[in-house]
C-alpha cells in the first residue's frame, strides 16, 4: 500500500481560529456585496428611531431623551442582527444544507458560531454607527465624553454577552424548527419595550427592569446612557459598576451555555437523525 501524503491541517486553537474567520468572512464581505441590502438594514431602524425622536418632540420631552432614543435606535440594529442572523442562522443553514457540512467538518461548531457573531458584529457595527452618526447630526445630540475607556469596555461586554446569548439561541431555535421564524418575531417589539430601547428602563419599575436584564442590551444600554449623557445617571437603573459586573457574568454564562447546548444538540442530532440534516 502506498503512503498517504498528508496535506497539513491545523488542530486545536489554530483550527478554531481559521474556522472562526472563515465563517465570519461571508458576513463581512456580504456588506460590500449586497449594498441595497445593507441600505435597507440601516434605513429601517433609522426611520423608526427618527419617528420616536419626533414623538418626544411632540410631547416636549427634555433633549436628553432624544439622545436616549438615538443610542437605543442604533442598538436595535444589534438586536435585529442577533435575532435574525444569529438565533435563526443555524436553522437557515440547515435549510440550505450547510449545517450538515459544518457538523461534518473538524472545525469546532463553537468557532462557527463565534465566526457568525464576529461577522455579524462587524456588519452591524457599521450600520449602528451610521444610525448613530446620522441621527446625532440630524438632531444635534450632545454627548459627554468623560470615561471613553469605560464606555468601550461596557460596549465590548454588552456585545460579548449579547452575541453569547445569540449563540445560545442558535441551538434553541434550531431545536424549535419551523417555529424559529415566529420566535424571532415574538422577540422583536416586546424586547424593544421591556429592554427600554426608547426610554430609560427604570420607567418600567424595578421588577420588570430586573427581569429584562436577562437581555444584555438592557443593562448595556442603561450603562452607556449613564456615561454618555449628563442627565443619564439620574435616570439609570443600577450603578454603572453593578451593571458592568452583571454584564461580565452574563457574557461568561451565555457563552458557556452556548457551548453546552451545542454539544447537546449535536448529540441529539446524531441520536435522532433529524436535527441536523435538511428535510426535503
Amino acid at each position: 500500500m502506498s503512503e498517504i501524503r498528508e496535506v497539513e491541517k491545523a488542530r486545536g486553537f489554530s483550527l478554531f481560529w481559521r474556522t472562526m474567520w472563515a465563517r465570519a468572512y461571508p458576513r463581512i464581505i456580504g456588506t460590500t456585496r449586497e449594498k441595497s441590502w445593507a441600505f435597507f438594514d440601516t434605513i429601517l431602524p433609522l426611520m423608526s428611531t427618527v419617528s420616536y425622536v419626533f414623538v418626544y418632540r411632540a410631547i416636549n420631552a427634555p433633549e436628553e431623551y432624544i439622545g436616549f432614543v438615538v443610542v437605543g435606535g442604533a442598538m436595535t440594529a444589534f438586536w435585529l442582527n442577533v435575532l435574525w442572523s444569529m438565533a435563526s442562522q443555524l436553522y437557515w443553514d440547515k435549510d440550505m444544507g450547510n449545517l450538515e457540512l459544518y457538523v461534518l467538518s473538524p472545525g469546532p461548531m463553537m468557532a462557527i458560531l463565534l465566526g457568525m457573531a464576529v461577522g455579524g458584529l462587524v456588519m452591524t457595527g457599521t450600520r449602528a454607527a451610521a444610525i448613530l452618526i446620522v441621527c446625532s447630526l440630524l438632531f444635534r445630540v450632545t454627548y459627554q465624553t468623560g470615561s471613553l475607556l469605560l464606555l468601550l469596555a461596557i460596549f465590548t461586554l454588552t456585545m460579548a454577552a449579547l452575541y453569547g446569548m445569540g449563540m445560545m439561541f442558535a441551538s434553541v431555535f434550531l431545536a424549535s424548527g419551523r417555529e424559529a421564524w415566529h420566535l424571532s418575531n415574538l422577540l422583536q417589539e416586546p424586547i424593544y419595550l421591556v429592554s427600554g430601547f426608547y426610554f430609560p428602563v427604570r420607567a418600567l419599575g424595578f421588577w420588570v427592569a430586573t427581569f429584562a436584564s436577562v437581555i444584555p442590551l438592557t443593562l448595556g444600554l442603561d450603562a452607556m446612557r449613564q456615561l454618555l449623557f449628563a442627565g443619564g445617571p439620574s435616570l439609570g437603573f443600577l450603578s454603572v459598576r453593578t451593571e458592568t459586573g452583571i454584564l461580565a457574568v452574563s457574557a461568561v454564562i451565555f457563552i458557556a451555555a452556548a457551548h453546552v447546548m451545542l454539544r447537546k444538540l449535536e448529540e441529539k442530532g446524531r441520536r435522532d437523525g433529524r436535527l441536523i440534516e435538511r428535510r426535503r
Partner: protein, 297 residues
Amino acid sequence: MTAIADRILNIPFVRRSDALRTFVVAAWLGWQIESNWADPFLFAIYSLARPIASVLILVVMYAVITDGAMEQPIFSYIYLGNALYILVSSVITGVSWAVIDDREHYRTMKQLYTAPLDGYAYLMGRGVARMLIGTISVLITIGFGLIAFHLPIRLATIDWGLLLLSTALGVASLAAMGLMLGSLTMMLARHFWAVGEMVAGSLYLFSGAIFPLEVLPPWLRPLGFVFPVTYWLEAARRALLGPQALGFPTLAHFSDWQLVGILSGMTAVLIVVSGFFYRWALHQAKEKGLIDMETAY
C-alpha cells in the same frame, strides 16, 4: 371559508367577470395560506404581543415625560394613530409580499401568469387575508387602549359613516400602493421585500401617524400632504374621538367631507396609476425573464 368562496363564485356576475372571479379565488387562497394565524401561539405573537408591545413603547415614552397624563388629547392621537397604522403595514406588505411568496416559496408564478386570470385582481385578492388579520389586531389594540388607558371613545358617539367610508378608501389606496410595490418586486431580488417595510416606515414618519406633522421640520411637512394615509388617519381619528381630534392644526381647516373628497381623489388616482404600473412592470419582468426568478441567498 371554502364554502363562502364557493357561494360568491356562483353569483352570476362574479362568474362572468375575470377580475372578480380572480379576486375571490385569490382572497380565498390568501386566507388558506394565512389561516395558521388562528393557531393560539401565532395569534399570541402576531395579534397580541407585537402590536400591544409596539403601542406600549409609545405609552411608556409618553408616561415618562408627562407623568402619566393619559387624558391629554395628544395621548389619544398617538395611541390611535399607532393602532390604525397596523393596517397600513399589513395591507401594503400583504400585497407586495404575495409576489415573493408565489415566486420564490410556492413557485407558482409561472402557472399563474400563464392562466387566464387578471393578475392585478389576483394580487389585490391575495392581500385581503392580511388586511383582515390586520383589522383584528387594530381592534384588539384599540380595545386594549379602552380598558387599560380609558381612551375617550364612546360607541354611541362614533361617526360610523365617516369611519367606514374613510377606512374603505384608505385601505383601497394602501392596496394600490402595495400593488405598485408588488409590481416593483416582480423585477427585483428577494430582499427587496424590505421596500414594502421602508414605504410603511416612511408613511409612519410622514403621515402624522404618531405625531402631528407640525413637529417635522418645515421642509419635510409637505411630504405628509401627498400621502392619502394622512387624510385617512385624520378622518378616522375624528370619527372615533369627535371634537377632541380637532385639537391639532395639521388638517383642522378641512371639514370631514373635504377630507373624504381628497382621500377619494387620491385613491382613484392611485388605483389608475397602479394599474398602468402593474402592466408596465409585468412587461419588464417578462422581457427580462424575471417572472420566475429565485433569489435565495
